[in-house]
């Protein structure tokens, strides 16, 4: 008998809960409409006031009002998202309430108590649409302010709903945005085409570019940590362009050889009579330098171009591998290479780092000013032999995130060794071997080996 009663109470509770949810939905919609009204009123009021003053201002206002309306409409067009957004919290809250009430009800053993109590609890939650009643008495300015506030609130909700709906794309968009690179030249054309004569000249004559390049080169040299014995060193400038970075090297008295793929850029460099030797060469084809000859290499904003796959033959992974392997070979022992890069995203950064590690380099990514969007700069510091600690990054307000970042990317020497070839291996061995081979080649989509690897299917297939 008690059980039957309990069930009844449960049912009625559930119904009440539903009703409450519906009421809440209604109330939120009412709020939306109220805000809409307020917004419209405000725009009307503003327009009235402005008409007398100036016509162009009114035009501006109309545009603004239109935008407002559009945004409000956008917000309105998303009732399900809004509801879904509220539902989760509300459900949790309700669950808690129900549990509490359930306990109470058990204590009192009275059927009528919860029935009277719940409406009391539910009723105060009904929002008492306050703005509309007060609105007519207010001045146009206040109204406008209110409308703006309402609009902003909606925007926030809308944004939140949106973000939760498309977390992946939003995140991606965000990360791209964080790097401040919506206008990456890399996505427009291959480097030898993008840096044509016009672009090369523009690049070199732009004082901001010159300043940035000089600054980055300074920093790269600092990270290069050449022994300070006064002897000029032979350095490589990979992707030297018009020799802006090379000039900083010359200033320090070093002899350098510059490689670049853009003829136009090199022509500009030759015209400017830079001291270094220039070669037209594609870094992705490997470096045409004899092994062990150079004392260090720098590269300013160039290596990310290697990640482009602009022709069907261009495999970024292959190109990066050739580049890093030949770079590793041509550096003398204990030398470093500092490559300043603009990775499009974290995958690209890790692809470059992994390719470098696979070539035998030790080192990692140093991120300067990690907390700033604009000043943030990535330096891939690669070392041949030796296990010197990574240099400190600059501009770290909070120490921890940077340390984490550096630790995360630091990989040390390549650990995976190729498995011994076994002629008489089973099918499974063969599969495992092949998978390991693919992994060492840098493919990331290889499934991990498990006990199901290479196992025969059952007969029913």
């Amino acid at each position: 008998m008690y059980e039957g009663q309990l069930e009844q109470i449960d049912n009625s509770l559930a119904r009440l809960g539903e009703q409450r949810a519906a009421l809440e939905n209604l109330s939120s919609q009412a709020e939306v409409i109220n805000a809409l009204k307020v917004g419209a009123d405000a725009s009307k009021g503003a327009m009235k006031a402005m008409k007398i003053d100036q016509v162009d201002q009114v035009l501006d206002d109309i545009n603004e009002a239109n935008d407002q309306m559009k945004q409000i409409q956008d917000a309105l067009a998303m009732p399900t998202g809004l509801g879904a957004e509220m539902d989760e919290d509300d459900l949790l809250q309700e669950l808690e309430d129900l549990e509490e009430e359930h306990i109470d009800e058990l204590k009192h053993e009275a059927a009528s108590v919860p029935a009277t109590r719940i409406p009391q609890q539910a009723l105060p939650e009904l929002p008492s649409a306050p703005q509309t009643q007060a609105a007519p008495a207010k001045t146009p300015e206040e109204l406008e302010l209110e409308a703006l506030e309402a609009e902003m609130a909606h925007c926030v909700i809308w944004h939140a709903a949106h973000a939760s709906r498309q977390p992946l794309s939003a995140q991606r968009h965000h990360s791209q945005y964080a790097m401040g690179r919506n206008d990456r030249p890399e996505i427009t054309a291959p480097p030898e085409i993008f840096y044509n004569e016009d672009e090369a000249r523009k690049y070199t004559e732009n004082s901001r570019m010159v300043a940035i390049q000089a600054q980055l080169t300074e920093r790269a040299l600092e990270l290069l940590a050449l022994p300070d014995d006064g002897t000029p060193k032979l350095l490589l400038d990979l992707g030297c362009g018009s020799g802006l970075s090379g000039e900083a090297l010359t200033e320090r008295g070093h002899i350098w050889v510059g490689l670049d793929i853009s003829k136009a850029m090199l022509d500009v460099a030759a015209e400017r009579e830079v001291e270094g030797d220039l070669c037209l060469h594609d870094l992705g084809h490997g470096l045409p330098i004899r092994p062990g000859t150079v004392d260090g290499a720098i590269s300013i904003s160039a290596v990310q171009w290697l990640c482009n796959a602009d022709t069907s033959k261009n495999d970024p992974r292959k190109r990066l591998r050739r580049f890093f392997e030949s770079l590793y070979a041509c550096l003398s022992k204990g030398a470093r290479a500092v490559l300043q890069i603009y990775p499009a995203n974290t995958e690209q950064a890790s692809m470059m780092t992994n390719a470098a590690m696979r070539a035998g380099f030790s080192g990692g990514l140093v991120v300067d000013f990690p907390h700033s969007t604009r000043a943030k700069k990535y330096f891939l510091v690669l070392m041949v032999g030796g296990t010197a600690a990574l240099p400190q990054a600059r501009g770290m307000d909070g120490e921890e995130p940077e340390d984490e970042e550096a630790a995360e990317v630091y990989v040390g020497h390549r650990k995976t060794k190729r498995r011994k070839h076994n002629d008489k291996g089973s099918t499974r061995d063969w599969i495992v071997r092949k998978k390991a081979q693919q992994r060492t080649r840098g493919y990331t989509n290889i499934k991990p080996d498990s006990r199901y690897t290479g196992r025969k299917r059952k007969d029913r297939f």
């Binding site: 000029p232 060193k233 002899i255 050889v257 793929i261 001291e275 030797d277 004899r290 033959k313």
Partner: protein
């Protein structure tokens, strides 16, 4: 330019120099750098390349002791850093592939199937 092709390797080394126009540009004399770089230079290759560009006063062979000799260092410096190949080509000794040099810039670009 000498630096670059002296060290150029694709399938073979050293690249032969075919000079059409050679230019000489003054550079600061840095004995320290020369001593530093000397062990990495393949002397016969440098000598051959220098000869192809009209600098024929380099000795037959060179050793560490010669590095103390100022006269030798001057010659070395001249051949290594001051003589520039303006027009001509670099030829791979193995495949005969020519890399044209124009305006002092060697074009080392490869076809996709060559690398």
């Amino acid at each position: 330019m000498l630096q670059c092709h002296i060290k150029g390797v694709q399938n073979g080394y050293p690249l032969k120099v075919e000079a059409e126009k050679v230019e000489t540009r003054e550079m600061d004399f840095e004995p320290d750098f020369l001593r530093h770089i000397f062990p990495r230079i393949n002397w016969p290759a440098l000598r051959e390349a220098a000869a192809a560009m009209g600098v024929s006063d380099l000795p037959e062979s060179a050793s560490e002791e010669l590095l103390e000799d100022d006269d030798f260092l001057k010659k070395f410096h001249h051949a290594l850093l001051e003589v520039h190949l303006e027009e001509g080509s670099l030829v791979c000794p193995e495949t005969g592939r020519k890399f044209p040099v124009s305006g002092g810039i060697p074009n080392l670009l490869l076809q996709e199937d060559e690398c």
